[in-house]
């Protein structure tokens, strides 16, 4: 008898926890938007536009981190990879036509893939832990960014900058949001719907079982970092769009924030678990908080504190829950 009821309550818990996982982030986001509207009754379509625009690079960074973390790794070079494509875009596009700038964007995405692949191959082959490898390659790519553009500058054609600006479809559906969804979907769906997704989730979840099922873990890891590199390059382009210039040090913020967005978005750092919707919404959330602080008249510098606190609280709650489960 006891067995049956235990199984039932287990099922219920599972049901609820599954739903909260799926709905928790959107619900939290909607709640925050509502709270924002309460704090700031003038909250309107313009604010939505600036939120989407502000979150654009971070969403890409979060996507990059998510892909790598799902495969069981971590990428502490995300910020530097973004910086590299940011300065590359700003210096190459400065005097280019709109058409040429699109070509340059494609080139930068390819270069991003190559950079990611270098990260991934180093992790796969060197036997150095991924944390150390990407911490160091982050340093190296940061040097590369400085090499390309020593101080903030450069630019891009207005038409290119305007891709993500404004709202052409509806005032409440800013272009930046469309760009965000389209670009991330274009990177993530091919992974998710193909065998690559299986490889990434499998090698992150249980590398031994994956290997015995016929997965080459080194290939899977390299692929994850490569796709992460593409998403970072997209993030760098987005940063160019939103700021209009290239800044070699602007990327550093995104390393930590991308990890924050992934973790808050429900991606397990142990690998193998999580999706793309959560981290992207978390990126919006992390952008919304400093805006709210401004509305509240609080120093927006609290944003970083809140971001850190959010990470710590989220992971601590996770730790606390498993701790209590184990005690039972």
């Amino acid at each position: 008898m006891t067995d049956v009821s235990a199984a039932d309550s287990g099922g219920l818990v599972r049901f609820v926890s599954r739903r909260t996982r799926l709905l928790g982030m959107p619900a939290l986001f909607v709640a925050c938007i509502l709270a924002t509207a309460l704090i700031h009754p003038d909250f309107g379509s313009f604010d939505v536009q600036s939120l989407a625009l502000g979150a654009l690079p971070l969403a890409m960074a979060a996507a990059a981190q998510t892909i790598v973390v799902i495969s069981g790794g971590i990428d502490l070079s995300v910020g530097s990879l973004i910086a590299v494509s940011n300065v590359l875009a700003a210096s190459l596009m400065q005097h280019a036509s709109f058409g040429a700038s699109l070509g340059i964007a494609v080139l930068i995405l390819i270069l991003g893939a190559a950079q990611g692949a270098i990260n991934g191959l180093t992790v796969a082959i060197s036997r150095i832990p991924d944390v150390v490898v990407t911490l160091t390659t982050g340093f190296i790519w940061g040097g590369v960014a400085l090499l390309i553009l020593e101080r903030p500058g450069g630019g891009a054609p207005a038409a290119f900058l305007n891709i993500a600006a404004g709202a052409d479809v509806s005032a409440w559906l800013p272009n930046a949001l469309i760009v965000m969804i389209v670009v991330i979907a274009a990177i993530w769906l091919p992974i998710k719907l193909s065998r690559i997704g299986l490889l990434l989730y499998a090698s992150g979840s249980d590398p031994v079982a994956a290997f015995r099922s016929g997965v080459d873990i080194r290939v899977a890891r390299t692929l994850a970092y490569t796709f992460g590199g593409i998403a970072c390059a997209a993030g760098g382009l987005a940063l160019t769009m939103t700021t209009g210039i290239g800044a070699p040090l602007a990327g550093t913020y995104y390393t930590l924030s991308s990890v924050a967005a992934a973790v808050i978005g429900g991606v397990s750092l142990a690998g193998g678990r999580g999706g793309m919707v959560g981290p992207v919404i978390a990126a919006l959330l992390l952008t919304l908080i400093p805006m709210d602080l401004v509305f509240l008249g609080i120093d927006p510098n609290y944003g970083q504190v809140i971001q850190g606190t959010l990470i710590v609280v989220v992971v601590m709650i996770g730790g606390f829950v498993t701790f209590m489960q184990e005690r039972k």
Binding site: S126, R127, I128, T137, G319
Partner: protein, 313 residues
């Protein structure tokens, strides 16, 4: 050849010292006459804060963890010191060290009790500390930060204009680390927890206590390193120790401590810190542009770590 490799495998510290010698020879080749007592004195002066931060990093990496908040803690401690110097040296220093203890305690609770991965925990507390310092700095605009004389002496002073004062602090830290890790029960536990947490649990050891104290000590060392740093620069800004995060991890890894825990020690970190200082010096002498220096620095660290991984395989 294989006999040499075998020997180096057994005594990695010898390999490290040889590597350091190689760097010194490299420096002499690039610009003959550089390696003088004065140069060595400066190198030690610069290596000390890194090595002190590396001491904390060694402690957490021996347990299989990592602390990414050390740079923020060091910066924060330095900044607190400078902005509170007017209320007396002692209380300013105490406040700076207290910051280390608080962040260390938070890290400790998360990692030791709630079993959060150290990476994400310390990333979060690092962000919090850094952010808090930004907010704090906005409110302290009016006051005039300055570094107490005693800290300036600690960070930049030299006895007989040759022996750096911070070397004594480093020697004290080093002696404490070497003795503590090899000759005390707590030291044994650090290795044991890093090697096999479950075995420790079954042997009747309350693992969380070990980890908690471990992270506390790491942050304290980071705060001390921050004081030495600000004493050296005599200017507290909010990016003071940013560039020390990677080296603090790198000097431990190059020094032969496994990031998976249970193997290594502080003597390797000492040599690791010296190697990194010599590397910086070499890159400066080569007169390459700053970005290129950064690239070379990272690449060399990666190759050293990879070579080390092969050697100890």
């Amino acid at each position: 050849m294989s006999a040499v490799l075998q020997f180096l495998k057994a005594r990695t510290i010898v390999a490290l010292i040889l590597l350091l010698a190689l760097f010194l020879i490299g420096i002499e080749l690039v610009r003959p006459g550089t390696v003088t007592p004065l140069w060595a004195s400066n190198a030690l002066l610069f290596a000390a804060p890194l090595a002190i931060m590396g001491a904390g990093q060694t402690l957490v990496m021996l347990t299989g963890g990592i602390d990414l908040s050390v740079a923020s803690v060091a910066t924060g401690a330095a900044y607190l010191l400078a902005t509170n110097a007017s209320s007396g040296d002692f209380s300013a220093i105490a406040l700076a060290l207290a910051l280390g203890l608080v962040v260390g305690a938070v890290n400790g609770v998360g990692v030791a009790l709630l079993r959060v991965q150290p990476l994400i925990m310390t990333l979060g507390t690092g962000l919090m500390t850094g952010g808090a310092m930004i907010v704090y700095s906005q409110q302290m605009l009016a006051s005039q930060p300055h570094v107490p004389a005693i800290i300036q002496t600690l960070g930049a002073g030299k006895i007989f204009s040759l022996v750096p004062v911070d070397l004594f602090l480093w020697i004290a830290v080093g002696a404490l680390m070497l003795y503590g890790l090899n000759r005390t029960g707590f030291g044994r536990l650090i290795f044991a927890v890093g090697d096999n947490r479950e075995a420790c649990h079954l042997a009747g050891i309350r693992v969380w206590r070990v980890l908690f104290v471990d992270y506390l000590l790491c942050a304290l060392f980071a705060a001390i390193a921050g004081l030495v740093l600000v004493g050296g620069t005599n200017a507290a800004d909010l990016s003071l120790a940013d560039s020390y995060l990677l080296p603090s991890v790198a000097c431990v890894i190059i020094g032969g401590t496994s990031i998976f825990g249970g193997r290594g020690g502080y003597s390797g970190t000492i040599v690791g810190a010296l190697i990194l200082t010599a590397l910086t010096s070499l890159l400066t002498l080569l007169d390459v542009a700053e970005p290129l220096k950064q690239i070379l620095y990272g690449a060399i660290i990666l190759s050293l770590a990879a070579a080390y991984a092969r050697l100890t395989e």
